[in-house]
Subunit: 193 residues, 2 copies
């Protein structure tokens, strides 16, 4: 990937984050990238091609790879906190906005499989973790896929809601949310300790 093409991609993704795919114009992209508009079409087939090349780059999916969740201690509370923290460190409000900006119908059929990689990494890493915990006898048997979905939904939901409404919806801060919700997941409401 030559430097000019990368500048174009970066500009395009940044604008899609701010304005959405449809409202992002090729003139905008060219200006922000500091190149002439016709250069976009020498490097890429069309506007859609620019953005699709962008999503294919890991850096534009928050660099959320399976390695991120490798650092486990086989201790439920601290490991769940680690999963949630690492996710929120990478899936910042900007990335949430980007993934919403990518949801134009002209694009979504092709972008969805790439966007979906991010939750998939979290979910499958967590499910694998639970399986190993069960086989180590550190967790009772359960519907692990469903359990992972509960925890991921909550992590995703909080991340998304914070990006959308900041603290106007709920005053609960990130650290507090992680600590408390992990306690709830592990011990439940009835035996909160």
């Amino acid at each position: 990937m030559d430097e000019t093409s990368q500048k174009i991609i970066d500009a395009a993704m940044s604008l899609v984050k701010d304005k959405g795919y449809v409202a992002t114009t090729t003139r905008d992209i060219a200006q922000l990238a500091g190149v002439n508009e016709c250069t976009l079409f020498r490097k890429f087939k069309n506007k859609k091609d620019i953005v699709l090349n962008g999503i294919e780059q890991e850096k534009w999916r928050g660099n959320l790879t399976p390695d991120v969740f490798k650092n486990v201690k086989w201790e439920l509370a601290s490991d769940l906190e680690m999963f949630m923290t690492e996710y929120m460190n990478r899936i910042t409000p900007d990335f949430v906005k980007l993934s919403i900006g990518l949801r134009a119908p002209q694009l979504y059929g092709e972008s969805a499989p790439l966007v979906m990689k991010v939750p998939q990494v979290f979910l499958s890493s967590l499910t694998d973790y639970f399986k190993e915990m069960v086989s180590r006898g550190k967790m009772p048997e359960a519907d692990l896929e469903c359990l992972a979905m509960t925890i991921f939904s909550s992590t995703f939901g909080y991340t998304f809601l914070s990006a959308s409404f900041e603290n106007h919806l709920s005053p609960v801060g990130r650290e507090e949310f992680i600590k408390q919700s992990v306690q709830t997941f592990i011990y439940g409401i009835t035996q909160k300790q």
Copy 2:
């Protein structure tokens, strides 16, 4: 609200759901509403005015009012299931798509406070419910706002992810998710029963 204006609003909201605000054209709206394009501008100031009038209508926010959550039995498991079920009954994939379609920067400053009403109703109803449960001695004291946020995040997250990726992300169905996650919230992972 006269019949013509309502037809225009309904057409506009339906198109915003499918294509997003920016990609929805006034020609599209007129055609779907079955009126002439100039009629839109006799009834409303401009395109934005149509959509903002739409979000102000309860029917375009899923009719999610506080009454929806009034039917509690003061029994934790069944009540939490009721909260989640009622939310998911109303906030269908179509409503999730609509709320994403409304996130154009030209609009979001004015639409966000209205869109936010939906999560606010769930959150405050659930927090109030928890307070009453504690005072009835049916639940231990805890950080109730945070607990409500955990449960709402999870409900919202599952709803949103299902609308976005259907069952491609996780095979866990709605009823199973609700049942199992409520069990986790109440009893926790460690004393799953």
